[in-house]
């Protein structure tokens, strides 16, 4: 499939897109045959399910499918009718409450053997508990999963923390919390073994972590190529589509998806293929979905969003070296801290991607921590009130590009 304005969509990205549908259908068939299936909070434990060969759907992924199918309004009404607040995290719960396979994306989810998730936010634990009740399946809560509170012995985080996360994560995580989390995860694995009849061995866990690390390393190499190549070889849409491979980390398939992605990006760089041949300006878009105004900005100014909030997460956040031979601890550390949301990290991304400016959505009355740091570092930052391709947003972006980036 060719993008009329630039390079074709990545074959590797399309392969991942296609596999997700196959995967769900396959999962449905497996569940019909009596195999267990799990629902898991994003980034909290899913690689263990993958390694145990238990199909797992990640909640934020499932919610994004619902959003892509434009069903958030419908499911919002389902939540309202049930007395619950409308909340994006609860879209999957709403699809279960609705219990209509004809309406649900991909025919809905099969009944899970269990739901697991961390107590990381006021909302999430409640939603998961209610969701498990709706399915009449167990909910296993885990403490500290990607908690927004300091996991660090010291706050604020050290500068350039992302350079420590892979090999020195033990310096970034509260040891006491990690001790408990490891114990809770061991208890959870026991529970899964009893509940599903599946087994986990240390050898398999170790192999899974190696595959995970290999996958994230390849992702980092692809990120480096995208960052250093002008014009950008891969559209932001494809970069983000590839992200679905994250749900298969810890498996050969997940690793191979990203290996293919890296090789395709490399080939494009070698052949001088551009995602947007008209590229004149490079932007970092501070969000996790392509901006609705991307095409307008490309056409009018040659301003291309080459990086997003997700660009560096694989290599800066997921990779975990095993320290002192303790695989469980390395993995649990990943489940506790993925990244630390600091402005200097985002600034680093803007710089390595050779961006001319950064765009974020921000409420005008609330000052941005990013803005001060970015502007002081000579990286112009534009704040738009919402991600919408309308006259007001275009006017703000035009003014920013014309007065800050082109003048």
């Amino acid at each position: 499939m060719t993008n009329e304005r630039g390079a074709a969509q990545l074959a590797s990205a399309n392969a991942i897109r296609a596999y997700q549908r196959e995967w769900l259908e396959d999962t449905r068939q497996r569940v019909k045959r009596g195999e267990p299936f799990a629902i898991c909070n994003g980034d909290e434990f899913e690689e263990v399910f993958n390694i145990m060969d238990i199909p797992v759907i990640v909640i934020n992924y499932w919610n994004s499918i619902i959003a892509t199918k434009r069903m958030t309004e419908y499911y919002g009404e389902v939540l309202t009718k049930s007395g619950y607040p409308v909340n994006y995290f609860a879209m999957g719960l709403a699809s279960t409450i609705d219990n209509d396979p004809e309406t649900a994306p991909w025919g809905g989810l099969p009944k899970p053997a269990l739901i697991i998730g961390g107590t990381k936010s006021d909302t999430e634990m409640k939603v998961l508990e209610i969701w498990a009740r709706e399915y009449d399946c167990p909910f296993f809560p885990l403490d500290f999963g990607l908690d927004a509170v300091p996991e660090l012995p010291k706050y604020p985080p050290p500068p350039r923390w992302w350079e420590m996360m892979a090999d020195h994560w033990d310096k970034l995580i509260d040891t006491r919390r990690l001790d408990l989390r490891v114990e809770e995860e061991k208890a959870l694995i026991n529970f899964i073994e009893v509940t599903t009849g599946k087994k986990l061995s240390m050898a398999k866990l170790e192999q899974g972590l190696e595959l995970l690390n290999e996958q994230e390393m390849l992702w980092g190499k692809a990120r480096d190529l995208i960052a250093e190549t002008i014009p950008c070889p891969v559209s932001l849409r494809d970069q983000l589509a590839v992200y679905q491979a994250q749900w298969h980390r810890g498996t050969v398939r997940g690793r191979d998806f990203i290996k293919a992605y890296y090789e395709e990006v490399k080939e494009r760089v070698e052949n001088g293929v551009a995602a947007c041949p008209n590229e004149k300006l490079r932007l970092l878009w501070m969000a996790g979905t392509p901006p609705s105004w991307a095409r307008w900005a490309e056409d009018k100014y040659g301003a291309v969003c080459v990086a997003s909030l997700f660009s560096s997460i694989p290599i800066d956040s997921y990779y975990r070296a095993v320290i002192n031979g303790d695989v469980m601890r390395a993995l649990a550390s990943r489940h506790m801290v993925l990244f630390l949301e600091t402005p200097d990290w985002r600034l680093k991304d803007a710089k390595i991607h050779q961006c001319n400016g950064v765009v974020e959505t921000a409420t005008p009355s609330v000052p941005s921590f990013n803005k001060k740091l970015f502007e002081e570092a000579g990286m112009p930052l534009c704040q738009i009130p919402r991600d919408q391709d309308d006259e007001e947003v275009r006017a703000i972006l035009s003014s920013f590009i014309e007065t800050r980036l082109l003048s």
Binding site: D122, K126, P150, Y155
Partner: protein, 390 residues
Amino acid sequence: MRGGERLKSETAFEEMQKHYQQRDLAAREWKGKGGKVVGYFCDAVPEEIILAAGFFPIRLSGDPNGDTEVARQNVIPRFTAREGFVHSMLNMLLTGQYDFLDYLVIPHTRDSIHRLYQLMAMLKESNPALTLPELFFLDSVHTTFFSGGLYNRDRMLELKERLEEWSGKEIASEALSRAIAVTNENKALLKRVAALRAADPPRISGVEALQIIGSSMFMLKEEHNRLLREYLDGADKFPVRNGTRLFVSGSPLDSLQLFEIIESCEATVVADDNCWGNRYSDVPIDTSLAPFEAIADRYHNRSPCSRMYPMSRRVEYCLQSVLEARAQGVIFNVFRNDAAEVWEIPDKTKALEDKGIPSICFRNQPYLISEPEPLKASVEKLIETIQGNR
């Protein structure tokens, strides 16, 4: 307080009321005498250990009528949970209204509270000129399992050690036992207050009860106990209250406005499940255990906060509290962006319905109620429903 002759209990109430209104009064007096003050958020921080260390513990609260501009200039985007309440407290901290605090303990409770630690640490780092108390993050788990209890106990031990460091002296078991005795007495006396409110007919209003309970968190406990004893001595002379018996459940409520609106409708808030209300005092510390362990145990197993797992405990606690108080109806009050509370409402409503108890829910409430009339109309409608059901 109503009635003719000025009773001793009336004077005691007025004193507690004064401290509810001037929440920094006692702490500033203490500070003026050379003492040190430890502030804390929520009902998850053990006052007993702070007292045993020789400090003045004061729970931080906000001011619905106060400004929040400075807080809003400093918050992280998306830092919006219960913004009115939390921004108010942050604003007071950043503008010097809490300048008498030497130390501040921030517990790992709701998102909006524990994130204050991260925010304040960053603010201190980026602006050394900013005068803020020394911070301590009291970590805890949000589950109530045995292993979590052990974890919480160890974190509480670290708080004890930090308090010892701050005071320069060891906290002896005897000191903890004395502090437990004082706070247990306070809880027992507050339970008697709760019983007066839940009596049939009630002898005190919800507005009065909130002030009595709240003032306990702003005063030295011995002094509060003395006032409570004097207050309760005259309890048999308190006039009875007529009207509908209502229960309030929902977001932590550190001001009187909602109760005043409700009780202006010929109703009494006979009980609540709020951490600024009855929940503060309903679980004493077990004196048969070693004092530190007993404190750790009590705070791990205290009546559930909405941030805790499982939700069923919260629902059961609400229902039992309603039944024990013989409330005829329930009002749920949920602050804007109070994600912990709002998910419980359907379960609680259902549990009440099963017992034939009607309820109404005020969702997305601002911290400062600027338009009381719609709320009042809803309360009156609820009362009509209750009276119609009789």
